[in-house]
């Protein structure tokens, strides 16, 4: 699915990712945890193609393609989806029209005809239910005036509409109360399939109670310093990150 080798990336000349390796196979869910400033969100942004980030070394292969060379839109068209930590409000751009354009541009990229309008509306109806998104919200401007929880649900709704092969959730749990968290996680779980993988970036173990990962990685200082089964998340919740930090520092020495 995606293979990240020795990835180095900087923003404004400052190196954030310092040789990151990660291999995700179809159907797997990988959680990326780590203390503040370790590079979690940078990883998500770099994979999605945000231009502020410069990849200085390493390679990322996504479904056989060199991801780094693709524009942000082509990455999405190849099946990568980033659920934003802070979804942007875009006044005046209708959620539905924007999604229709996105779907049709993705279809065009794949050599398919535009989606049938009726089929599109049926899809909207179906996917809204997945995250219990109010029909009114789907028709409003993108995220405008949405609550924090609604914005996150809208992210998952969009993911459901675009049907990516790799979903990257960037701190999707931040700012969510427990009910909203459950709804969002349920939405994600319903999208799990043997062909679809997820990278779940999170600060807290809480989300992983709902979206159970196959692997948990600890990102620290721009590298993955520890990988374990889902129980690792519980251990981190209990013991914090300090023991990881000192282990990593000892290893570096």
């Amino acid at each position: 699915m995606i293979s990240i080798k020795n990835l180095h990336a900087s923003v404004e000349g400052k190196e954030i990712l310092k040789g990151l390796n990660l291999e995700v196979k179809p159907g797997e869910v990988h959680a990326i945890m780590g203390p503040n400033g370790s590079g979690k969100s940078t990883l998500a942004s770099v994979l999605a193609g945000r231009e502020d980030y410069e990849v200085t070394e390493g390679e990322v292969t996504f479904n056989g393609k060199n991801l780094i060379e693709l524009s942000a839109e082509d990455r999405a068209r190849e099946g990568l989806f980033l659920a934003f930590q802070y979804p942007i409000e875009i006044p005046g751009v209708s959620n539905i029209n924007f999604l229709k354009t996105a779907i049709n541009e993705i279809r065009e990229y794949k050599g398919l005809d535009p989606i049938d309008p009726k089929q599109f509306l049926a899809l909207v109806k179906e996917k809204q239910k997945l995250v219990e998104l109010d029909g009114k919200l789907a028709n409003r401007s993108v995220n405008e005036g949405f609550s924090g929880g609604e914005k996150k649900r809208n992210e998952i709704f969009q993911m459901a509409m675009l049907e990516p092969t790799l979903g990257i959730l960037d701190e999707t749990d931040s700012g969510l109360d427990i009910d909203a968290l459950r709804i969002v996680a349920n939405g994600v779980n319903k999208l799990r399939s043997p062909e679809r993988s997820f990278i779940v970036v999170t600060h807290y173990q809480r989300l992983l109670d709902y979206i159970v990962p196959d692997y948990v990685h600890v990102l620290y200082n721009g590298r993955i310093v520890k990988t374990g089964p889902k129980e690792l998340a519980l251990e981190l919740e209990e013991k914090g990150y300090d023991w990881i930090k000192s282990d990593a520092q000892n290893a570096a020495v």
């Binding site: 999605a48 193609g49 945000r50 231009e51 524009s71 942000a72 839109e73 990455r75 999405a76 068209r77 989806f81 980033l82 934003f84 979804p87 942007i88 875009i90 006044p91 005046g92 751009v93 924007f98 999604l99 354009t101 996105a102 779907i103 541009e105 993705i106 990229y109 401007s141 993108v142 969009q158 675009l162």
Partner: protein, 433 residues
Amino acid sequence: MNVMTENKLTERILSGSEAKLVSLAGNASARKNALDEFRRMGVPTKRHEDYKYINPEGLFRLGEFMAKANVVRPVTSHDVEEMTIAPGAAKVVIVNGIFIPELSKLDRLPAGVTVKSIADAVVSDAIAKKYHSTIANDSSDAFIAWNTAMNESGVFIHIAKGATCNIPVHVVHIASNEAASTFHPRNLIVAEVDSSLNVIESFDSIGPVKTLTNVVTEVMVHKGAKLNHYRIQTEGDAAHQMNTTCVVAESGSNYCTYTFSFGGAWVRNNLNISFTQEHTESHLYGLYVTNGNRVVDNHTIVDHAIPNCMSNELYKGVVDGKSTAVFNGKIFVRRDAQKTNAYQTNRNILLSDDATVNTKPQLEIYADDVKCSHGTSTGRLDEDAMFYLRARGVGEASARKMLVRAFAEEVVNNVPDEAIKAYLDNRLNHLMS
């Protein structure tokens, strides 16, 4: 040295104008007085505060617009049809500043609405006589004085007390000439007490010849009247326009103005609104979309001379290529104008490194119990929004178009007439594809 040149330029225009003046009908002494005012003020230059960003002197220095021969390039009914904005509207066609009854379509106007050539109206109509040249002041601007001296025709629109005009009156201004020339259409709109009227003024040009349309429109909005006044400028690359609209609004009236500048090489809009009675309301909306080497300049003045009035202004611009956009919004709140509400916003998106925006909100407030605000911004498209859209698979060009459309749509959404709105949406689609 400079003064000499300026005077020479003014004299050159004057000599051309004086030669023509003798052939014009109407009140000769009024024309001569106006030309004297023009001589006194001279062609505005860069040193003139109100014209410093667009320098009309520069236009004239090129020697354009001076042709003596006014040879109309024929306009057909098909041409006029192509300029339709709201199907079903009454149409007044003004070619090169002259009212053309054969091309106009006025048979569907309801009772209480009078539309006729202003040249006739100032002779035969008591109301036209009463207001003509009283709202736009010759001594306030050289272009008004020039228009007063030189205008040959234009339209007088009158709606009677309590009348409602259920179809818009569309004034189709067309510049179409075989040689470079200047035209001076003069319009007067009078909305009587409690009347309701929609007026569209569109500006188009046909052909490659350079033209300058120096149009002056006077508007009288009586008590309780409701007037929506649209200005839709879609001229070609050879057309230049100096547009002055002066409005006096009385108590309880609501004058809404919508200015869409989508075309023309050089467009200057002076929009002056005076409140002369309490509880008057006015909304000013503007959208300019510029590219190439075009220049679009909107100067607005809202004069709150008396208490308890409300004005709200929203102008937005999408500025691309090497074009220049200017916005200057003056709001005067005079000493006695307590309880004034006056709001103004100007926002611009720059789509290119070579485009220029000069924006200047200018609030002069002499009363102390008022609510006034202004805001202005000029910037690029929001990078975060661009990334968000692209990260969903929307290509860069489509994402840009989506955001620009959304930005412009805020102005279009304030248009109450669905047909006009549809026309504008369609026009924007063409402009942005």
